[in-house]
């Protein structure tokens, strides 16, 4: 079993098997990021495919001194933002659906205290439609992918202060949306306390 740096080296040299393994290793992260930025799983699949095609064609230009995941996130976020800009305002406010979304699997929701991830996903897909693409991307990278602010700035190619500003605006909008449309998802008062 080859480790990640070895896979990257072999894939860079044009070895398809190594590239396939690299795709397996990274595909969920790429699809999840693209899905949360575009708000649509089918669109995310298209974005992910274009990301991996670019990866295959440009991997020999990857600088191994830089973090591979940062580069991958960057390609993914740029492709996703380009996609939603080209697609038009599909993500803007949509009516609340009656049925829970079924695009993302939710494991056995048997525990009473368990948060319903399908409902949470539905809420995010809807409320994030109110965000500008870069605000949305910054929020996804920071909150869902768990990158720190400096890493988000590197991925997005902007200053950390710009990322903080995007996050501030995104949180403000999402808190307002949660309070307005999904009060059951968060405890009373939790939507009113700004963090940054």
């Amino acid at each position: 079993m080859r480790d990640e740096p070895q896979l990257i080296r072999d894939a860079s040299a044009g070895e398809r098997a190594a590239f396939d393994e690299l795709v397996r290793l990274k595909r969920e992260r790429v699809v999840r990021t693209a899905f949360q930025v575009t708000g649509d799983l089918d669109d995310a699949m298209d974005v992910a495919q274009s990301v991996f095609m670019k990866l295959w064609q440009g991997l020999d230009r990857y600088d191994p001194r830089r973090r591979f995941d940062t580069w991958l996130y960057r390609v993914t976020v740029n492709a996703a933002i380009d996609f939603i800009r080209g697609r038009g305002p599909k993500g803007t406010i949509q009516p609340l659906p009656d049925e829970p979304a079924d695009t993302i699997a939710d494991d056995d929701p048997g525990v009473e205290a368990r948060l319903d991830l399908a409902t949470l996903q539905q809420a995010f897909s809807r409320l994030a439609g109110e965000l500008a693409p870069k605000q949305r991307a910054a929020f996804v990278l920071r909150e869902i992918e768990g990158l720190d602010t400096a890493e988000v700035a590197r991925v997005m190619g902007v200053a950390e202060s710009t990322v903080r500003n995007h996050l501030f605006q995104a949180r403000k909008t999402l808190r307002a949306g949660l309070e307005r449309d999904y009060p059951d998802l968060v405890p009373l008062g939790a939507t009113k306390k700004p963090k940054e």
């Binding site: 899905f35 799983l41 699949m45 699997a105 205290a113 949660l178 405890p187 939790a190």
Partner: protein, 165 residues
């Protein structure tokens, strides 16, 4: 990995948790309403962090790999594409060299150019050459003042080799 409730310091410094710890904490937060309430008290929008624990269906990921396989098979191999680029570059260079060679071959040499320049005795006065252009004065061989009038606008041009900019 983390079945115990989150400690207050873990909630306060949630963003500083190491990746594995964070993943375990998110698993717990997804299932424990009490910890979740304490965690969300800082900021309700944090709740969306839990989407990190929401898996993409495996069949969709497999579908992506299949689509990618097909697309890559149809794509020209990277090495072949580069080989083609190299051949095209060499061909373009040879073509450029041939064109430049032909131009230079037919181009006059320095001696011919001097001979042709000697045939030009005196250029006609500027005021005959360009409509609207008048020589105001020519105080020396190295300086001259010209006037160009276009409509209501007049431009004075001073040519003087002794002026250093």
């Amino acid at each position: 990995m983390m079945n115990d409730h989150l400690q207050p310091n873990e909630i306060a410094e949630f963003y500083a948790l190491a990746d594995e710890r964070r993943d375990a904490a998110l698993d717990h937060l997804g299932e424990c309403a009490a910890c979740r309430a304490a965690w969300l008290a800082a900021d309700g929008s944090r709740v969306f962090s839990l989407l990190a624990r929401s898996p993409i269906p495996e069949d969709r990921l497999e579908q992506l790999s299949r689509r990618l396989d097909t697309a890559l098979d149809e794509l020209q191999p990277r090495g072949a594409a580069r080989g083609l680029f190299r051949v095209a570059s060499i061909a373009a260079s040879l073509l450029l060299a041939a064109v430049l060679g032909a131009v230079l071959w037919n181009h006059e040499g320095p001696a011919e150019r001097v001979a042709r320049m000697e045939q030009i005795d005196v250029l006609p006065p500027l005021d005959e050459e360009i409509a609207g252009m008048q020589v105001v004065e020519t105080p020396s061989e190295d300086s001259q003042t010209l006037s160009l009038k276009v409509g209501e606008t007049q431009i004075l041009m001073i040519f003087d080799e002794s002026i250093e900019l």
